[in-house]
């Protein structure tokens, strides 16, 4: 706690040093005047308005004595490799305390974790618009798998899978618009089956002779399709699986 006298006393001393007469200062703080008066008198008397200077001859003699010592001061030797290694060893020894090591490890770990999280967040943001065949598309799929594995209930997982399938269909649509070739994957309703030409979710799917089909798909079934998108907007199926 600040003593009020210390504040007032200091203000009074500042005023005294600025040349304000003592009585004028004390008149400003009549309630403290009795206590402050002797202290301010002491401060006034102790102040040294005309500092004493040493006679020049004596000062010169003392300076010469000092400069004689300065003159015999040996030049600073250049540090050798051994000195440098010794200094480095001392610095390391001072740094290598258990506390310093823990502190450094904590700082490094925190920095690494934060950098990793920041990088993942930025990568995730950048991968959001990736299409099949793009560099970041696999990252987008891995990120979706991680999200799926973090769901706590079955209904949450189903909702998320539905959301991701909507994305797959939107990607397919974008690829068709861009007239790009790519391997695509989606889930949809099998709308019709005529020989080796099927319609799934409105898209024409051609089934080659060596197609691998899991289950017994029928019109109205939900099937998972892995197919190759060709430039004529047709899909050549690679794998078909009935979704339960």
């Amino acid at each position: 706690m600040i003593d009020p006298y210390e504040l007032i006393l200091d203000e009074c001393i500042s005023a005294l040093q600025a040349g304000v007469p003592l009585e004028e200062i004390l008149a400003e703080v009549p309630e403290f005047a009795h206590e402050l008066r002797p202290m301010l008198y002491a401060a006034t008397v102790l102040s040294n308005p005309n500092p004493v200077l040493l006679p020049t001859a004596q000062k010169t003699a003392l300076r010469n004595k000092y400069m004689q010592q300065v003159a015999i001061l040996p030049p600073l030797p250049m540090p050798t490799w051994s000195d440098k290694l010794h200094a480095a060893y001392h610095i390391m020894r001072r740094r290598l305390t258990r506390q310093a090591i823990f502190s450094d490890l904590a700082t490094i770990s925190m920095t690494a974790i934060l950098t990793l999280l920041m990088s993942l967040a930025m990568l995730n943001y950048a991968a959001n618009g990736a299409l099949p065949g793009d560099l970041l598309y696999n990252f987008k799929r891995v990120s979706e798998q991680i999200q799926l594995s973090l769901t706590l209930t079955e209904s949450q997982a189903v909702a998320l899978q539905t959301q991701f399938n909507v994305r797959r269909l939107a990607e397919l649509e974008q690829l068709i618009q861009l007239n790009r070739l790519a391997v695509v994957e989606f889930t949809g309703v099998l709308e019709s089956q005529v020989d080796n030409v099927w319609i799934v979710e409105g898209y024409t799917l051609i089934l080659p002779a060596d197609i691998h089909i899991e289950g017994q798909p029928q019109e109205g079934s939900r099937i998972h399709v892995v197919a190759f998108l060709r430039v004529n907007k047709t899909l050549v199926a690679d794998m078909i699986q009935v979704v339960q």
């Binding site: 210390e6 200091d10 001393i13 008198y41 002491a42 300076r63 001061l73």
Partner: protein
């Protein structure tokens, strides 16, 4: 620490003789005034002690232990220690306050205090070394609270408290007019 002081410090650490001469020319008067104030009217001793402060600086360079952070802080600390040692040695010869009180008829209050200057300076020696240091820097050297705090490596609040305690002790130690009527 200002740039000039920092540059001087760096140069003297390299044993630069021109910088060492500059340090002497720049700070000798200040250190002399400080020691003179602490010793109270012993100009020759004060001059020798002030010179010893600078010789100690040269010795510190020889021993590879030069000032590292503040040049003036280092100079004032050495001056303070040397002055305190001298005062300690002379301790037995410090007159008692009562011996210095004049038997003259009472004067006006201010004249009374001015007349008591010699005994006031003796009363200073009854303060702690730290309090004497603050008084010498604040009133002898005319330093501001902030400058004093930087030199003493203390906060401004701590210097204010020391100053208050020192002046209050002086006011108590000094005989009042009534005591020598």
């Amino acid at each position: 620490m200002d740039e000039l002081q920092a540059s001087l410090l760096e140069r003297i650490q390299q044993h630069d003789q021109v910088a060492l001469a500059e340090v002497y020319d720049r700070y000798f008067d200040q250190i002399y005034r400080y020691v003179y104030y602490r010793l109270n009217n012993e100009p020759d001793v004060a001059a020798d002690i002030a010179c010893e402060v600078f010789l100690a600086l040269v010795s510190s360079l020889k021993n590879g232990k030069p000032p590292r952070t503040s040049l003036t802080g280092w100079l004032y600390t050495v001056a303070r220690n040397l002055a305190a040692d001298h005062i300690k040695k002379k301790g037995k010869t410090v007159p008692l306050l009562d011996e210095l009180v004049s038997d003259d008829p009472p004067l006006s209050e201010q004249a009374h205090w001015v007349q008591l200057l010699p005994s006031l300076k003796v009363a200073l020696r009854h303060l702690t070394d730290e309090q004497q240091h603050v008084i010498a820097l604040r009133f002898g050297e005319g330093m501001s609270l902030a400058e004093t705090a930087t030199l003493m490596d203390k906060t401004v609040g701590a210097v204010k408290a020391l100053q208050h305690r020192a002046l209050a002790s002086l006011a108590r130690l000094m005989p009042t007019e009534g005591e020598h009527d």
